[in-house]
Symmetry: C2
Subunit: 138 residues, 2 copies
DNA sequence: CGCTTGTTGCAAGCTGTTCGCAACTAGCGG
DNA sequence: CCGCTAGTTGCGAACAGCTTGCAACAAGCG
């Protein structure tokens, strides 16, 4: 199902801003701030306004197409395609790279929270800050 | 070593704003936003300005007395006393409560990252959003 | 092809945080 | 106990990220 049908099936419309935002997200693969997304969309069509980008991101998030992660790295939220896999982020403070990983670690955490803390986690945000493999400790 | 000596030993001074911020942090035990801290400080002394609170928080963080955690719950950063124990946060989306837990789970995560991903984590931010024990799923 | 209703661009507004600057004061040295 | 000086403060303006009210606009159903 393409994005147009998907939107229509929920009573929404496919518009220029939405198509552009979708393209940017799809081609970038994630970890973009709203500002970056807006910038790229603007490149493709300068007439698209920032607020439309924000509104589109909110809509896509409501439809579970994308997910907002707060990497706390610079106060700006980042967006990435939503996929069912639990994942986590590694932020390298040396090279600034944000990498995305899928692993059993998040599922294990969820199980632990449920068993030991009686907490039903809807989403788990795991962000590790440090040195990545390439940026060996000086 | 009390806060006054600690500051002086680093070439800083103990001032009214700093003492008040310190008191608030010590008595609250953590999870306060800068706004909340400013509010409580303001209660004790309305002459203390918000910017001083922010500057004080920054200073205390530099001295590793407190730590900023971005719980991403409302765009505002939260502050808590820095202690060596690894810990994580549970944010209940029903009652809004933010609870703080210490557990082996973070250490296990750090080990996993190092072993499996070659990532030397300096700090690990683990935030779970969901329903706490008291707020059973409706 | 026309109408209805969801969307848009714009601009103003809001929250959280930072900064420049002149006035002020903590606390060291006498 | 006092004076000096460099660290701090309060203030206001500025800033970044994000949201919103509104009138003009257009997607896409019939």
């Amino acid at each position: 199902m393409d994005i147009g049908e998907l939107l229509r099936s929920h009573g929404h419309r496919l518009t220029e801003p939405r198509r552009l935002v979708w393209d940017v997200l799809a081609s970038a693969g994630g970890h973009l701030t709203a500002g970056e997304i807006a910038g790229r969309v603007h490149l493709a069509n300068p007439d698209v306004n920032v607020s439309s980008v924000y509104r589109t991101l909110g809509l896509f998030a409501d439809l579970d197409l994308i997910r907002e992660s707060n990497l706390g790295v610079d106060g700006a939220a980042r967006w990435e395609p939503a996929h069912p896999d639990e994942h986590f982020h590694l932020v390298c403070e040396a090279c600034g790279d944000v990498s995305h990983h899928v692993g059993e670690i998040v599922a294990a955490t969820r199980a632990h929270l449920s068993t030991h803390h009686g907490f039903d986690a809807r989403s788990i945000e795991l962000v590790a800050t440090g040195r990545c493999d390439a940026c060996a400790p000086a």
